[in-house]
């Protein structure tokens, strides 16, 4: 990083929010540091260009400094270039804790949608193959993929099957006929997260998932048929199976009602138990528990079960998607490039001051981005780094990045996760009509299929930050390398 720290003085593009930059000093083009003051145990570090930083809500800074004050935090509290105001933790926040140093695990450091993530399927099909059947394919996918409020999946799990799903993840789904074993090698942890503890889930959490296996949800979740519009790193792209003009599919969703309920249950429990753990929370929202406590262990067990639920869910959706393609475009194979989550806490080994330590890394709205040669990356992809899948907003580009060698020292190998909203849902509905948006996007060759026009208006592309600026900042900061840009053709939304 370039030397010559200096105080920052920026103005905000939109004028309605402005991050308070007092005490923020610049360390290189894309790295900004807040040295520890008051209760902070470590610095807060933000990765962004000047414009993205200037546009960040002041709450991001406040929340990041609060995270930096939690017990057992190691290194720094990090904000990715797409960071925005979250619950306690900023969305786009990364923080690692050491159990041996009294470190904590936080339900809000993971988020309500546990293991929300993106997976991308590649094929030998071309953009023109999709365009030739676009309307029919959109109709078939909209019919096959349960999406939106009130939708239900076709599976209804018995208690026994629910337990098997919660411990088996995508591996369970494949064993039940949803997809192939080849898929599993291209999912984090081989599709099955160890240490899941179904008994740590409330009855409510289980009940909420009863009818929701294989559903997409709503909000910013989607299934998109896309094409590779630009390749930035030809060698990595080739290894990832991405070629210019090729058709791909990306799925963005999470652990559905089960994960939401786990978040709800443990947020309350962590708040109530904080005094008994001797925790003085800088903010009530930042509820957490020592990793090495009964409640901390219970949460980790429940969270891992919810992670398996998310992996199983995306696996079932993949199968439904392949079936729908098969009815319209026989021969579309849809090989899984990768599946990576961006709302998680994972136990990982990282080097700290020359010593390898086991850390619990929270990534909330941030994507794991292991660099080349990391043992956790599938063998075929390993020389190039882990694929990092960045979802755009409806109608805008998505990106495939690859983990960089420099990311480990910068941010525990973490990168951004998407665009992040720049406008509230209400502002969006005041500004755009759902029908008009659907028509405008159709005129640009992008078909939107959603049961809710109000939902479409709330998800208007311009209600989000510019994903390209976010990706560029992540790349230039050294968090990950840009491999390819994907543009949408069909978007199925809840």
């Amino acid at each position: 990083m370039a030397a010559g720290a200096r105080s920052a003085s920026l103005t905000c593009r939109h004028g309605n929010v402005r991050v308070n930059l007092q005490g923020v000093h610049r360390d290189g083009e894309y790295r900004w540091v807040i040295e520890p003051t008051a209760r902070m145990r470590v610095p807060a570090v933000l990765f962004a260009d000047e414009q993205l930083l200037g546009d960040m809500d002041d709450k991001v800074r406040e929340q990041l400094c609060n995270v930096a004050s939690l017990p057992g935090i190691v290194g720094a509290a990090y904000a990715m270039p797409d960071a925005h105001w979250g619950y306690g933790f900023p969305i786009g926040g990364v923080a690692a804790f050491d159990a041996e140093q009294g470190g904590v695990v936080s339900a809000v450091g993971v988020g309500f949608d546990i293991s929300c993530g993106v997976r991308t399927l590649v094929s030998d099909g071309r953009r023109e193959d999709i365009v030739a059947v676009q309307d029919r394919l959109a109709r078939e996918l909209a019919r096959a993929i349960p999406a939106g409020v009130g939708s239900t999946g076709r599976l209804r799990l018995s208690d026994h099957e629910m337990d098997a799903m919660l411990t088996g993840g995508a591996r369970w789904a494949v064993a039940r006929g949803h997809g192939t074993t080849a898929d599993l090698a291209h999912i984090e942890e081989g599709g099955c997260i160890g240490g899941a503890e179904p008994t740590a889930l409330s009855q409510r959490a289980r009940t909420r998932q009863r009818d929701e296996m294989g559903t997409l949800g709503s909000g910013n979740h989607y299934l998109e048929v896309q094409w590779v519009a630009e390749v930035f790193d030809a060698v990595a792209a080739e290894a990832f199976g991405l070629r210019a003009g090729q058709a791909v599919v990306s799925i963005h969703c999470g652990s559905r009602g089960l994960g939401h309920q786990v978040g709800t249950d443990y947020l309350r429990d962590m708040l109530l138990a904080a005094p008994s753990h001797g925790l003085q929370l800088p903010d009530r929202e930042l509820a957490c528990a020592p990793i090495d406590s009964e409640l901390g262990r219970q949460y980790l067990g429940a969270m891992r079960a919810a992670m398996n639920c998310a992996l199983a869910n995306r696996q079932i959706l993949t199968h439904l998607c392949r079936e729908a393609f098969g009815r319209v475009l026989p021969g579309f194979d849809g090989r899984l490039l990768y599946d990576v989550s961006h709302n998680i806490c994972k136990e990982e080994r990282h080097e700290v001051n020359g010593r390898v330590r086991r850390l619990h890394v929270h990534r909330k709205g941030a994507t794991r981005a292991f660099g080349p040669a990391h043992e956790a990356v599938p063998e075929a992809l390993r020389p190039h780094g882990q694929p990092v899948l960045i979802g755009g907003s409806m109608g805008t580009a998505s990106y495939v990045l690859a983990g960089s060698a420099s990311g480990e020292a910068l941010s525990w190998s973490s990168a951004c996760h998407g665009a992040g909203r720049s406008m509230s849902r209400h502002q969006a509905t005041k500004q755009w009509q759902g029908r008009q948006l659907v028509d405008d996007l159709a005129a640009r060759g992008i078909l939107i299929r959603s049961p809710s026009l109000r939902g479409v208006a709330e998800e208007a592309p311009d209600a989000y930050k510019d994903v390209s600026a976010v990706v560029e900042a992540a790349d230039r900061a050294g968090l990950a390398r840009t491999v390819a840009r994907l543009e949408p053709l069909i978007c199925i939304k809840g």
Partner: protein
């Protein structure tokens, strides 16, 4: 960041309360006001439904009993709204009318509504949960009660 009222209160009723939404980054806040905490809780619940659909579209053909408890009023609001989220999610319901009674840290309520009709309600988004963010139940200067929190959608 709270930028005040962005949606007018629902039609006046004999409950003499009102609700509104407030902006929060990616999500949305719900706020209810009334003469008592119970009335404010009812209005906050109306605001919750209005996150999903337009309230006047929801008929009251079914009724659901809700019971919850918490050590303080703030957390009771958290439990109340999350109980409604649970029923909305698992029974595919939308609620429009509420009768809430609060006594000794416990809440007893009847929530009336109907099953989701996607064509008629055009539900915008599903609610993941009520959060601790901006969570507060307080008496205001005019003596009325205000109950609010941010909803994760």
């Amino acid at each position: 960041m709270i930028d005040g009222r962005v949606r007018a209160a629902g039609p006046a009723s004999d409950r003499a309360g009102e609700w509104e939404h407030f902006a929060h980054g990616a999500d949305i806040g719900v706020r209810g006001r009334g003469a008592t905490p119970a009335r404010a809780f009812e209005q906050a619940a109306r605001a919750l439904t209005a996150v999903v659909t337009d309230l006047p579209l929801v008929r009251t053909t079914t009724s659901t009993e809700v019971h919850c408890r918490a050590p303080d009023l703030d957390l009771l609001l958290y439990e109340w709204l999350n109980s409604l989220v649970f029923h909305m999610s698992t029974e595919r319901l939308l609620f429009a009318a509420f009768d809430v009674r609060i006594a000794g840290g416990e809440l007893f309520a009847q929530a009336r509504g109907e099953p989701v009709d996607v064509a008629r309600h055009a539900p915008a988004v599903e609610v993941k949960g009520a959060t601790l963010t901006e969570l507060s139940v307080r008496r205001e200067a005019d003596g009325r009660w205000c109950a609010q929190c941010v909803i994760d959608v």
